[in-house]
C-alpha cells in the first residue's frame, strides 16, 4: 500500500467566545481556521487528523505540512509508521510538533481502518472508560470559579482544575480558597498556574494549595526552569506536574526524570508530535512508576486520538476537558462528552472512529492546500 496524496482542507471556525487561560497565552476570540488533514492511499483507505485550534489557526502551520512533511510520506507505505515517525521528527525545525502530530494521527487512523480495529485495540486496550475533569478558562472572579466548580461537581464530574488569572500570587490563592470553599473538603481539585510564577511565588501558592488539599500543582514555574522545579519539589508535599512544554520532544523528558524535577510526565498529541510520541512517553513514565497525564489535545479530533492512547495505558488517571466548549469543540458530529458519572468512553469503530462533520467542513471551507 502506498500513500498517494496529502491534503489540508482549511475551514473557518466562527463565533469563538473570548477565552484566556493565563497571562502567558493571549486572549483569543472570534474566528480561527481549522485544518482537515487527509492522507489518501492507492487502496482507497483514507486517514484523517485535525490541525489547528481556536487560539492558533491551521493556516499558520499548514504550509509547512505541504512543504516539508508531505514529501516525507508521499509514495510510502502508511504502515511503516515508526520509520515515517522518525523521518517526520527530523523535520521538526522546519515545522511544529502539531503538524508532525497530525500526520502521525492520520497514519494511525489508516492502520486502524485497515486492521478493522479501533486504535486502542491496535495498541492493546487497558480499559473502556476514564474519568474526566473540567479544566477552567480564566474567569472574572473567585466566586465565578467557585460556582463553576460546584456545577461540575453537581454534574458528576470527577474533578475540577483551575487555570487562575496569574496576575498575582495572592489573587490566585483567593481563587483556590473560593473553589475549595464551594466544593467542600472531599472534592478533587487541581491547580494549573500556566508557567506564571518565580520560585517564591510558586512556593507561596503551592503552600496554599497544599493547605487546601489540592490534588496536583501544575506548571507553576517557567517551562524550562528545571533548576527551580527540583527545589520546589523538595519543598512540597503535593505532587508537581511539569513537562507539558518542557523544551524539546519525547527524548527531552530524560533530564526531568534523572533530576527528579516532576511527579508526572505530561503532553498531548499536539505538543509532543502524535500518538506515537505520547504512547512512547507513557511507557517511559511507567518505567519510572510515574503517571503520564495526558493534556487536552487542542482540537476535537486530537482529543479523540488522546482518548485512544488513554484507553491503552494504565498510567493516566484522567481525561482533561478544557472549557469552554465553544473554544474547544468543533468539526465532529458527536464530540466527547462525559456522562452523568463523569466518564469518557472509548471510541470502538475502526481507526480514530470519530464522526467527522464533512458537511460542515465543506460548507466552511476556505482553502485546500496540496
Amino acid at each position: 500500500m502506498k500513500i498517494t496524496d496529502v491534503t489540508l482542507t482549511l475551514f473557518a471556525w466562527n463565533d469563538i467566545p473570548a477565552t484566556k487561560y493565563g497571562q502567558l497565552s493571549q486572549e483569543f476570540s472570534g474566528t480561527s481556521q481549522m485544518g482537515l488533514v487527509t492522507i489518501t492511499t492507492d487502496e482507497g483507505v483514507e486517514g484523517h487528523a485535525f490541525l489547528g485550534s481556536a487560539s492558533r489557526g491551521a493556516n499558520l502551520d499548514g504550509q509547512t505540512l505541504i512543504d516539508y512533511l508531505k514529501p516525507v510520506v508521499m509514495g510510502q507505505d502508511p504502515l511503516d509508521r515508526e520509520r515515517l515517525y522518525q523521518d517526520l521528527q527530523k523535520r521538526y525545525r522546519n515545522t511544529t510538533p502539531r503538524v508532525i502530530g497530525a500526520v502521525d494521527i492520520a497514519l494511525w487512523d489508516i492502520a486502524g481502518k485497515i486492521a478493522g480495529l479501533p486504535i486502542h485495540q491496535l495498541l492493546g486496550s487497558y480499559r473502556q472508560s476514564v474519568p474526566a475533569y473540567a479544566s477552567s478558562a480564566v474567569l472574572d472572579s473567585p466566586e465565578a470559579y467557585g460556582e463553576q466548580a460546584a456545577q461540575y461537581k453537581a454534574d458528576g464530574w470527577a474533578a475540577y482544575k483551575i487555570h487562575p488569572p496569574t496576575i498575582s500570587a495572592k489573587g490566585d490563592i483567593a481563587v483556590c480558597e473560593a473553589v475549595r470553599e464551594a466544593v467542600g473538603d472531599d472534592y478533587r481539585i487541581m491547580l494549573d498556574s500556566t508557567w506564571a510564577y518565580n520560585y517564591y511565588e510558586a512556593l507561596a501558592v503551592g503552600k496554599a494549595a497544599e493547605r487546601l488539599g489540592f490534588y496536583w500543582y501544575e506548571d507553576p514555574l517557567a517551562d524550562d526552569d528545571m533548576y527551580n522545579y527540583i527545589k520546589l519539589r523538595e519543598h512540597m508535599d503535593i505532587p508537581i506536574m511539569a513537562t507539558e512544554y518542557s523544551p524539546g520532544g519525547f527524548t527531552a523528558y530524560a533530564p526531568w526524570l534523572v533530576s527528579q524535577a516532576t511527579d508526572y510526565l505530561r503532553g498531548d498529541v499536539a505538543v509532543k508530535g502524535g500518538i506515537t510520541a505520547i504512547y512512547k512517553t507513557a511507557h517511559l513514565a511507567e518505567g519510572f512508576h510515574l503517571n503520564f497525564e495526558i493534556h487536552h489535545g487542542g482540537n476535537s479530533l486530537n482529543n479523540v486520538a488522546n482518548t485512544h492512547v488513554i484507553m491503552a495505558i494504565k498510567n493516566c488517571e484522567y481525561f482533561e476537558v478544557l472549557l469552554p466548549s465553544g473554544a474547544q469543540k468543533y468539526g465532529l458530529i458527536e464530540d466527547i462528552d462525559p456522562d452523568e458519572n463523569g466518564l469518557v468512553y472509548a471510541f470502538n469503530e475502526p481507526g480514530l472512529g470519530a464522526k467527522i462533520d464533512f458537511e460542515l467542513i465543506e460548507r466552511m471551507k476556505t482553502a485546500v492546500l496540496s
Partner: protein, 365 residues
C-alpha cells in the same frame, strides 16, 4: 471476541549438547495455544533448551490461565498488567508466553504481520553469531572464521570466564576476524571489579564493539564506576534485579549502562520489550534485544526489531541444535549477514505441528 481456552502441549527436545557439565541432553518445550470464540488462535513457545517447559507449565495453567479465560484478547495492556501482578507465583517466561500468544491473536485480528501492526521501521537487520560458552581458544577462532566466511559481520564471545585467558581469546578472535569485523564480549556476570576493568581495557584496545555483563547483574555501583573508567560501551540489565521493565529506571538514573537489554523470556513478553525500547529511546540509548531462548520467541522478537529504530542487531545464539526447534522455517541469515522481516500475518511462525504431535509428552489445560 473472547478467550475460550488455553492449552499447553509439552513436547520433547532430545540430543541437546550439554552447556555445562551435568546438563541434561533433553528438555521440553510447550506449545501454548490460546483459542477464541471467533476461531482465531494465538501461539507461543514456553521454555528453552536450558529451562524446560515442564517446570513453568503447571504454574501458567494454575495462576495465569484463569486471568485470561473469558477475556477479550485485544485487551492486551489490561491483561499484561494483571499477568505481571502474578510474577511472584510464576516465571517471567510463563507471563511472556501468554503475552506473545495474545500479540499473535492481535496481529491476526488486524490481518497484518506483527511488525506492520506495531508500525514498521525497516525490513532487515544485521545478525550476529553469539557463541556458546566454550573452554578452548581454538573453538572461538574456528567459529568466527566460519561465520565470517558465510558473510556474517559480527560475532559475540561467551568466554571461558577465566579473565586472563578470556583476554587471549578476544585477541585471537580479533586476529582471525580482521580489523573490519565487529566482535563483542559477553562475560556473563563472571568478573570482580578489578578483572572487569582489566578485561575491559584489553578489549577496548582490541576495538571490541561492546562489553556485556562483566559484573554481577545487581552490582549497579560497580557498573557506574566501570563505565566511568572505560571508553568501550557497557551493556547491562538483561537480568537487572526485579526483572521487570520498571527495574531499568535506576540504571538510567545512575548512568550505569550504555544499553538496555532483555527478551520475551526474561522480561515477560512482547509488551515490556516495546515499553523498554521506548524507555531506552527517550534516553537516546539502544535497547539491544537478547535472543529469545526458543525459535518462536526469536521470530516474534524479529518483528519487534523491525518496528523499532534503537536496536542494532539480531542475536543468533549458537549452536543451532540447542536453540532452533519446533519451527519448520526458522530465521535464516543471508549471505550478507542479514535477517529479514516476515510478511506472514501475526507472528507468522511455521509451527511444526506434526513434529510436536509426534514428540508430545503431555497436554495441560
Amino acid at each position: 471476541m473472547k478467550i475460550t481456552d488455553l492449552t499447553i502441549k509439552l513436547f520433547n527436545w532430545e540430543g541437546i549438547p550439554p552447556r555445562r557439565p551435568g546438563d541434561s541432553a533433553t528438555s521440553q518445550l510447550g506449545l501454548v495455544t490460546i483459542s477464541t470464540d471467533e476461531g482465531l488462535q494465538g501461539h507461543a513457545f514456553l521454555g528453552s533448551s536450558m529451562a524446560t517447559a515442564e517446570d513453568d507449565a503447571p504454574g501458567l495453567i494454575r495462576y495465569l490461565k484463569p486471568l485470561v479465560m473469558g477475556q477479550n484478547p485485544l485487551d492486551r495492556e489490561r491483561l499484561w498488567q494483571e499477568l505481571w501482578a502474578r510474577n511472584r507465583q510464576v516465571s517471567f517466561r510463563a507471563i511472556g508466553a501468554i503475552d506473545c500468544a495474545l500479540w499473535d491473536i492481535g496481529a491476526k485480528a488486524a490481518g497484518m504481520p506483527l511488525h506492520k501492526m506495531l508500525g514498521s521501521y525497516r525490513t532487515s537487520v544485521p545478525a550476529y553469531a553469539s557463541s556458546a560458552p566454550m573452554d578452548k581458544l581454538e573453538l572461538f577462532t574456528d567459529e568466527v572464521a566460519h561465520y565470517k566466511e558465510r558473510g556474517w559481520t559480527a560475532y559475540k564471545i561467551h568466554p571461558p570466564r577465566i579473565p586472563a585467558y578470556d583476554i587471549e581469546v578476544c585477541a585471537a578472535v580479533r586476529e582471525v576476524a580482521g580489523p573490519d569485523f565487529t566482535p563483542m564480549l559477553d562475560s556473563m556476570w563472571s568478573y570482580d571489579y578489578p578483572w572487569a576493568l582489566r578485561v575491559g581495557k584489553a578489549i577496548e584496545e582490541l576495538d571490541y564493539y561492546w562489553y556485556e555483563d562483566p559484573l554481577p547483574e545487581d552490582d549497579l555501583g560497580g557498573y557506574v564506576k566501570l563505565r566511568k573508567n572505560l571508553d568501550i560501551p557497557l551493556m547491562a540489565t538483561e537480568y537487572a534485579p526485579g526483572g521487570g521493565f520498571t527495574a531499568f529506571a535506576p540504571w538510567l538514573q545512575y548512568g550505569a549502562t550504555d544499553y538496555l537489554r532483555g527478551d520475551i523470556q526474561v522480561k515477560g513478553g512482547i509488551t515490556p520489550l516495546i515499553k523498554a525500547a521506548h524507555m531506552a529511546e527517550a534516553f537516546h540509548l539502544n535497547f539491544e534485544m537478547h535472543h529469545g531462548g526458543n525459535s518462536l520467541n526469536n521470530i516474534a522478537q524479529l518483528h519487534v526489531i523491525m518496528a523499532m529504530k534503537n536496536c542494532e542487531f539480531l542475536e543468533v545464539l549458537l549452536p543451532d541444535v540447542a536453540q532452533k526447534y519446533g519451527i519448520s522455517e526458522d530465521i535464516e541469515v543471508d549471505s550478507n549477514g542479514m535477517a529479514h522481516a516476515s510478511d506472514k500475518v501475526g507472528i507468522g511462525a511455521e509451527i511444526d505441528f506434526v513434529m510436536i504431535e509426534k514428540m508430545k509428552a503431555a497436554e495441560l489445560s
